[in-house]
């Protein structure tokens, strides 16, 4: 038998897949679009009331014409209140889809959170956002949770003045405020994010501002309602280090002031080390290691985490040749049935041929999905 090329799909196969996909997504959409969704379907309880967010075995898939992309495939982690959780991994590993799942902004209908719970503690109630109706999500977004994107232009409307855009957000969530109060609040926010000429900037258009300034505007907009949770997806990736330092300082400072939690998505380990209390390392849609920032940076265990840390040169530490993880990420529609990292792993052992390793906890907070930690994990239990 000729070896089947997994990257190639015939038109006939593709048509068949897309027909099946339509059936599946239609069902999800119908369920979501019901006129009345009873509260008991989405009002729930936190496992631990100290948490702001609990990701519990979340699966978000894309039903594409070439097959199902399991972008987020059984992801679990918590964001404790007032803490920052950094999510790291290479591009395509599912970081953005994780954050979009949190806000239920995954591109539908092809993208669907097919199972698992994402519990969000808004302070007043606990909502499983996976099952929450659109109206509930709208109420939560911007009010209780806010998002900061990599490219601030995507969040700003180019034809409106920035002040008016922030006013809009405040008005939506504080309808009792008068126009003067709203404007005063906006200007206060602009000052808070470190904009010197706040009255001037209030009446400027986004294109009149630099990238760093635009990101400040987005932060002002995100924080205008003092959200419980800030989801920041690569907020400083497009910025220079000097501006990045300003923005990170600002985020840290504001978060402490309004005591919110941050889900910080980035591929930059340095940024994570500076900001995060906890770190989640993702690989090919799964969490392969998580723990406190100290555990992950001082005692990384998963060969992927170790490889990531070794491949980045560090200022002040001279090496002759950089370590580089061989190969590349497996095809997302055709994941192997063993450890996803095995084909690139240089610490691979006999038992790695078995199924994808389970979660091994080597401390109460430090979890590793690698057979190398199996014994230690079992001892810890």
């Amino acid at each position: 038998m000729a070896k089947k090329n997994v990257n190639y799909i015939s038109a006939k196969e593709s048509r068949k897949i897309s027909k099946e996909n339509r059936k599946i997504t239609k069902e999800f959409e119908a369920k979501r679009n019901r006129k009345h969704i009873p509260e008991e379907e989405y009002i729930t309880k936190m496992k631990n009331p100290e948490n702001c967010v609990e990701f519990d075995d979340v699966h978000t898939y894309f039903f594409t014409d070439i097959g199902t992309v399991k972008a987020v495939d059984g992801v679990s982690f918590n964001v404790p209140q007032g803490k920052t959780v950094g999510i790291v991994g290479e591009s395509g590993c599912g970081k953005s889809v994780t954050s979009l799942s949190m806000l239920q902004l995954v591109q539908r209908p092809q993208g669907q959170t097919v199972s698992g719970e994402i519990r969000f503690n808004s302070g007043d109630e606990c909502v499983n956002v996976v099952n929450a109706p659109a109206s509930k999500m709208q109420e939560l977004r911007g009010n209780k949770m806010a998002m900061i994107f990599q490219e601030p232009m995507t969040a700003l409307n180019p034809v409106f003045r920035v002040g008016a855009q922030i006013d809009e957000v405040i008005k939506l969530h504080r309808p009792e405020m008068t126009d003067e109060e709203v404007k005063a609040r906006t200007i206060e926010m602009l000052g808070m994010v470190g904009i010197a000429n706040k009255e001037g900037v209030y009446s400027m258009y986004p294109h009149e501002l630099s990238g760093g300034m635009r990101q400040r505007i987005c932060i002002a907009m995100a924080l205008a309602c003092e959200p419980k949770l800030i989801v920041a997806d690569e907020p400083t990736t497009a910025l220079d280090v000097t501006i990045q330092a300003q923005i990170l300082d600002l985020l840290r400072d504001l978060k402490d002031r309004i005591n919110s939690s941050i889900m910080l998505i980035t591929h930059d380990l340095g940024v994570v080390a500076e900001m995060a209390d906890y770190v989640v390392v993702m690989y090919a849609g799964r969490v392969v290691e998580k723990g406190t920032a100290r555990e992950i940076f001082k005692d990384p265990r998963h060969p992927y985490t170790i490889g990531l840390m070794k491949s980045k040169p560090v200022v002040g530490q001279k090496v002759d040749e950089l370590y580089s993880i061989p190969g590349s990420v497996p095809n997302p529609v055709n994941m192997p049935d063993y450890c996803y990292f095995k084909d690139r792993c240089d610490m691979c052992m006999e038992c790695c041929n078995g199924e994808f390793p389970e979660e091994y906890y080597i401390s109460d907070t430090h979890m590793v999905r690698c057979y190398r930690c199996k014994e230690e994990g079992e001892r810890h239990e």
Binding site: A273, R294, V314, V315
Partner: protein, 327 residues
């Protein structure tokens, strides 16, 4: 003289202004001073890193050296010859010796050509190898860059970002250059892929004695790959020197601020930061005197009036700042 240094490239007082058109008659109303009096030399077989915030003129410097952009003023001496005095035809031949690799491996490859053709097109055009040896030559170059021979017939969209960057490097390498401008070659890649490409560039340098001008805003990558470093701010070089000296002992207040902004992958390290206030001023209207004075925490009276001259602090460590005027 045996210890005479062999400089492959000398850039003297290079300027590149972009005219700003506007006004009622569409006349020139001003200039963006993208590169404003830049001078440096690169020794053969070494790498010079060029760092600085976006918009400071790194790419324009690289492109003006290669004459992809025509200079406004100054000179570029490559292998002892003035690049700007070359005729069109001479320039064509010179281009094989000076190549460039760009940041974005997606837009810099034609989607309609197979990889083999992309790499080989210019080789054939310049008649660099006899027709009989052509195929073998391309295969060898591809192998050197970590590409497989059977990739020849594939198209760019079938490749990942890292592989595409290998194709870009192979294309440059195929012309057997002496000097390559690497303009943010790894900035768009994931760290693990970055490491592969950086290692490849270093290996090629060792094997072929290449000289690089390595442009990047990533200071840790620049420290790793460079022998010398130039720090740019608003169109000018504020500090140049050996990599070790610049990183161990940065002198210019801007260099210090830039370095202190680098996030370190160590959660126990709480750094004292010099947070730079504000944004970079516009290169169309740069501040008088020292161009950094609007953001400098050590700014003195003289800084606002007089542009600092370069000062050699020893070992080729040159800084442009009035703080060091008295030494």
């Amino acid at each position: 003289m045996s210890n005479e240094k062999d400089y492959i490239l000398e850039v003297n007082h290079l300027k590149k202004y972009f005219p700003i058109k506007g006004g009622f008659f569409g006349g020139v109303t001003g200039n963006v001073k993208a590169v404003d009096d830049v001078s440096f030399k690169i020794e053969r077989g070494t790498t010079m890193g060029l760092v600085g915030e976006s918009g400071c003129g790194k790419s324009t410097t690289g492109r003006t050296i290669l004459r992809l952009l025509e200079k406004t003023d100054g000179e570029v001496i490559f292998n002892g010859e003035d690049v700007n005095k070359k005729s069109k035809k001479e320039l064509r031949d010179l281009r094989t010796k000076m190549q460039i690799v760009f940041q974005d491996p997606y837009s810099s490859l034609s989607p309609r050509l197979p990889i083999g053709e992309i790499i080989g097109e210019a080789v054939r055009e310049h008649g660099l190898v006899p027709a009989a040896e052509y195929d073998e030559y391309i295969s060898k170059i591809m192998e050197e860059c970590g590409l497989q021979e059977h990739h020849k017939d594939r198209y760019p969209h079938e490749f990942s970002g890292g592989q595409r960057q290998r194709v870009c490097i192979a294309r440059a390498l195929a012309l057997n250059p002496d000097f390559i401008v690497c303009d943010e070659p790894v900035s768009a890649l994931d760290v693990s892929i970055q490491a592969q490409v950086i290692n490849l560039l270093r290996k090629l340098q060792k094997d072929r004695g290449l000289t690089y001008l390595f442009i990047s805003h990533d200071l840790s990558v620049v420290e790793h790959i460079s022998d010398t470093v130039g720090v740019m701010y608003l169109g000018g070089l504020v500090e140049t020197g050996k990599t070790e000296d610049i990183f161990a002992n940065p002198l210019h207040p801007y260099t210090k601020a830039l370095f202190s902004a680098i996030p370190m992958p160590d959660p126990d390290l709480k750094k004292e930061r010099v947070i730079l206030e504000g944004d970079i001023p516009s290169p169309a209207n740069p501040p008088k005197g020292c161009k950094f004075h609007t953001r400098c925490s050590e700014c003195m009276g003289i800084c606002k009036e007089v542009a600092p001259e370069p000062k050699d602090m020893g070992n080729g460590h040159v800084v442009r700042c009035h703080l060091y005027d008295d030494k």
